[in-house]
Structures are given as structure tokens and as C-alpha cells.
């Protein structure tokens, strides 16, 4: 029988990685994800794995680059300022088309910002962050169970497409505790070809593997651009994931992800109890963005309310998908229950806004 335990989102992420067979972790302490680093430092040596505390997030991501280049399951985790430091390495990993998982627990920014929750890194995570043309597969869980599951899904998708995957949480769902069912999820086979990976015990006569992030300089640029473009199009076609709730007869749809998605679902339930026709569409993959689903939504509902704990980032993508066919409204940081970094967007506040709009 599957084991059910109480875990924080952060520890669930670590457990998800261990259940996925990841035995290599590289990290650096930063609030609110230092417990991930601590957990791996205790667990991996006991499991025959390798834990390295790096001197910076810049080096964490490069250690991950090296490990991923060997074709093994490896991971790092960080929070917003640390994620900024990783951009260079992520760009190189994407260029070299290596599978790995990055766990990102958002806190408030910019600068050192706050150590409390926020969703201010949407653009950085989804649109790139590092230089050049690349995409990360971005999974946005909204519960501790999903964090556990999506780290495993992240490894699978990363290997399926040879592309880094990122699991995006925040201080709310990273630090909260819920029940988690611990089990290894079988997503199916991943590509068997490992010829691209750095190897040992290789035959000196065989062709050597050369992992390149300098894709343009080594003379394969157009080939690389065409291949990755096709890959990105395939991911956009096949890997969109979202949750839809109470949408059948909804007149207003709330679009929110992660912790705001939880608040939105809470608000939706309160609204339904009052007879209001409100539904929720929660993007699970932020890239690929559920653009077709939101396009379709725009033809069914009159109004869309985007809730995210920032000054308005995902709302731009929603507006882009809606193309003026429905009203798009936004609520963000100024709807927090406290006017400082301890503030959070509560279901009740969302309900008030919904009532104003209906």
C-alpha cells in the first residue's frame, strides 16, 4: 500500500526527486527553500547518492549541467534571487539540450525583496530569463501532492524532450504541510538513445560525445535552431496541462496558478455556495501555456479574472489568448490582506472582486 505522510511542499519536492530515482543534488541555501538543501544533505549520503553544497547558485546550476550531461537524473533548487544567478547556466543547459529538473520556490522581489511569498518570477521563468532563444518546461503545482508528483513528471518530460524542466512553487505551497501519497509514478518509457551523454568505459575507437552549449560556434546553429523549434512546437501541441473547475455554466472564469490557484478554487467554492456562476481555469503548465484553452474560454464567458501575486505578468498571456473577446480583469499584490510582505491573497478577497464584476 502507498505510504501517506505529512510533508511540506519543499520536502515533498525532495522526496519526489528521490522517488524518481534522482541521486544527485546540488544546491545553495536560500529562504524559503533551505530545507530542500538540508533534506538532500541528510538523505543522499545514506542512499548512495551525491550531495554538494555549492558556493553559489551560479555553481549549483553548473554542477547540474555537468551531471545532466552524463545522462543521469539530477536536480537543483533555489528561490528568486538564486534563480537570477542561475540564468547563465540554464541558458547553457537549454542550448546543450540536457534533461534535468530545477525547483524554484518563489519569494518577493526585485533585489533581495522579501523572504515571504510572491509570484513575481512568472515572466523570468516562462519567457526565458537567460539569454537566447530557449524555453523551459514549467510545471506549476498547487498542492504538496502535486509538488511531489510534478518533480517526477518534470524528470520524465525533461528526458522525453531533452529539455530542462522547472517546477515553480512559492513560499505558501513550498512551506505548507499536507498529506502526500508517496509512490513512484510510471509515465512511460523515455528515449533510449544516450549517445549524446558523456561516458566512461568508452571505447577509444568509438565516436566521442561532445556536449556543446556553444551551438553557433561549432557550426551547427541552423540545425540546432530547427531542431529545438520543432521540439518546442511538439511540446506546445502535446504537453499543455490545466485544471478546470465549475466551468460548465460559468459566466466568469478565474485564471490563476500555484498558490493563487488554491485561493481561486476556495473563492469559487464560496461563490458557488452563493449561487454565483463562477469557474476556475488553473494553468498547470505555464510553458507550454494553455493558450488554446483560454482562447476557447473567451468565447464562452463574458469576463475573466486573473489572480496572481504580482503586478500583472501572466495576465498579459491571458490577454494575448483572449484577444479582446472577453473582458480581462486582474487582481494582484494590492489585494493582499496586509499591505506588506506578509500579505497574501485570500479566497474571500477574490470573492469580493468576483461579486463586483458579476
Amino acid at each position: 500500500m502507498d505510504e501517506k505522510v505529512l510533508l511540506t511542499g519543499n520536502i515533498a519536492a525532495a522526496e519526489g526527486a528521490l522517488y524518481a530515482g534522482c541521486r544527485h543534488y546540488f544546491g545553495y541555501p536560500i529562504t524559503p527553500q533551505s530545507d530542500v538543501v538540508e533534506y538532500f544533505s541528510a538523505k543522499l549520503p545514506q542512499m548512495g547518492g551525491e550531495f554538494v553544497q555549492s558556493e553559489s547558485e551560479c555553481t549549483s546550476i553548473n554542477m547540474l549541467y555537468g551531471a545532466a550531461a552524463c545522462g543521469i537524473r539530477a536536480m537543483t533548487s533555489t528561490s528568486s534571487p538564486g534563480f537570477s544567478l542561475m540564468q547563465e547556466g540554464i541558458s547553457h543547459i537549454a542550448a546543450a539540450e540536457l534533461p534535468c529538473v530545477i525547483m524554484h520556490v518563489q519569494r518577493g522581489g526585485p533585489g533581495s525583496g522579501s523572504t515571504q511569498t510572491a509570484q513575481m518570477d512568472y515572466n523570468q521563468v516562462v519567457k526565458g530569463g537567460g539569454h537566447g532563444e530557449y524555453r523551459l518546461i514549467v510545471l506549476a503545482p498547487d498542492s504538496v501532492q502535486e509538488i511531489f508528483d510534478f518533480v517526477q513528471l518534470g524528470f520524465y518530460l525533461a528526458e522525453k524532450y531533452r529539455n530542462p524542466a522547472l517546477v515553480l512553487t512559492d513560499a505558501i505551497i513550498g512551506q505548507m504541510k499536507e498529506d502526500v501519497e508517496l509512490r513512484t509514478i510510471d509515465f512511460g518509457p523515455t528515449p533510449e538513445d544516450r549517445s549524446w551523454a558523456l561516458k566512461i568505459h568508452r571505447s577509444p575507437k568509438g565516436k566521442s560525445a561532445n556536449v556543446h552549449s556553444a551551438v553557433g560556434i561549432v557550426g551547427i546553429y541552423n540545425e540546432w535552431l530547427a531542431r529545438t523549434n520543432e521540439k518546442y512546437e511538439n511540446i506546445k501541441r502535446d504537453e499543455v496541462r490545466f485544471q478546470s473547475m465549475f466551468m460548465e455554466d460559468a459566466e466568469l472564469a478565474i485564471v490563476a496558478y500555484g498558490s493563487s490557484g488554491r485561493a481561486a478554487k476556495g473563492a469559487c467554492k464560496l461563490a458557488r455556495e452563493e449561487g454565483l456562476k463562477v469557474g476556475v481555469l488553473r494553468p498547470i503548465t505555464l510553458w507550454p501555456f494553455p493558450q488554446p484553452q483560454i482562447e476557447e474560454l473567451a468565447s464562452r464567458v463574458k469576463k475573466i479574472l486573473v489572480v496572481e501575486d504580482n503586478l500583472g505578468q501572466m495576465v498579459e498571456d491571458v490577454r494575448g489568448a483572449v484577444e479582446g473577446r472577453a473582458e480581462v480583469h486582474f487582481m494582484g499584490v494590492f489585494s493582499r490582506h496586509m499591505p506588506d510582505c506578509n500579505g497574501m491573497i485570500f479566497p474571500d478577497t477574490i470573492l469580493e472582486e468576483v461579486k463586483k464584476l458579476l
Binding site: 505558501i172 512551506q175 505548507m176 499536507e178 485561493a263
Partner: protein, 186 residues
């Protein structure tokens, strides 16, 4: 025998770092997960390790917990004056406010539409051994008032605490604090 669906319990606890706010919530979900189908525990705290504002949202429910955030709790535990200023208004009208009256004067409450349960928890804790167990006194009182969980279940949850390996003597004292709060009559 079909199990009857239990009432959802929502609790907000607020104080400052080091008072054991998060531990109280943690004990609730550890014990609660044996009784309720779903539990959630959400901490929010300032940057400093000790002395910053801290609040904990706890939900025990047989229904899916859609949002772990509790905006209008029916029960609120307040452990210091700053938390009182910040959180007193969120308590639902007709709700119950449990305060450590050694830290917060009942006069500070300033609301007529709620029930205030003043427990001299710090003094009670000190008389047992140390103010470090004040949180357990308040938790005991909450358990008595809410009926959310049996006292024994929460007491035994302490033995499962992985974070703090409690020596026998300390465990007894912790359980004593919990009982003292449970049996405290205003």
C-alpha cells in the same frame, strides 16, 4: 458503518517567532490526520529566525481543502500584542478568541461580537516548568473548546515529533501543559 462527515475545523494562531505558534499547528495536523481525511498547515513568518511576526493557518476537514488560507476563522489564538493588532479583526463575528492573558490584556480586544477566552497561559506554563510550553497550555484550551480532536491523540502526537526528540521527562511536562490548558476553567 458509514462514517459521518465531521465539521471542518479552521484555526488561526498568531504570535512571534519562538513562542511555538507553528509547533501548535503542527501537532494539530499530526494528530488530525488520523481523524480527518484532509489536513493543511500553512506558516507565514518574518525574515528573522527569532522574534518576528508569525502566523499559522490550520485546517482539518473531511472535504478536499481547496484553499489552505483561512481569512475568517471561527477560532483564533493570539499570543502577543502585535499579533492582536494584526489579527483580531479577521475573527468571524460570534467566533472565539483565545488569548494568553499574561501577554495580552483582554481590554485590548475591543470587540463585543466575539467570545474572549483569557488563559494565564504563560504563568501556568511557568508554574509547571517553563514558559516554553505556553503554546501547549493554549492548545489544550483550544481542544477543550472546539472538540476538534481528543486530548490523548494530540498528546500522543508529541511522541511522534521527529524534529524534537523529547526525553521522557520533557514529554511528561509537555503533556502536563496540554492537560492544564484543557482543564483550565475560566
Amino acid at each position: 458503518m458509514a462514517e459521518e462527515e465531521k465539521e471542518t475545523m479552521e484555526l488561526v494562531i498568531a504570535g512571534y517567532g519562538g513562542q511555538g505558534v507553528l509547533t501548535m499547528g503542527d501537532l494539530m495536523i499530526k494528530a488530525g490526520s488520523n481523524v480527518y481525511k484532509h489536513v493543511s498547515w500553512l506558516p507565514s513568518y518574518d525574515t528573522y529566525t527569532r522574534g518576528g511576526r508569525v502566523v499559522c493557518y490550520v485546517i482539518l476537514s473531511d472535504e478536499n481543502i481547496l484553499s489552505p488560507l483561512v481569512a475568517r476563522p471561527r477560532t483564533l489564538v493570539i499570543m502577543d500584542p502585535v499579533a492582536m493588532d494584526l489579527y483580531r479583526d479577521c475573527l468571524m463575528p460570534g467566533g472565539t478568541l483565545i488569548i494568553d492573558s499574561c501577554m495580552v490584556s483582554p481590554e485590548m480586544v475591543g470587540r463585543e461580537d466575539i467570545e474572549v477566552i483569557a488563559v494565564p497561559a504563560s504563568e501556568m506554563a511557568q508554574s509547571i516548568l517553563t514558559i516554553k510550553i505556553t503554546n501547549l497550555v493554549l492548545l489544550g484550551k483550544y481542544l477543550k473548546l472546539s472538540g476538534a480532536l481528543p486530548l490523548e491523540l494530540v498528546a500522543s502526537a508529541m511522541t511522534k515529533s521527529k524534529e524534537a526528540v523529547l526525553k521522557d521527562g520533557f514529554l511528561t511536562i509537555n503533556q502536563e501543559a496540554l492537560s492544564a490548558g484543557y482543564n483550565y476553567a475560566n
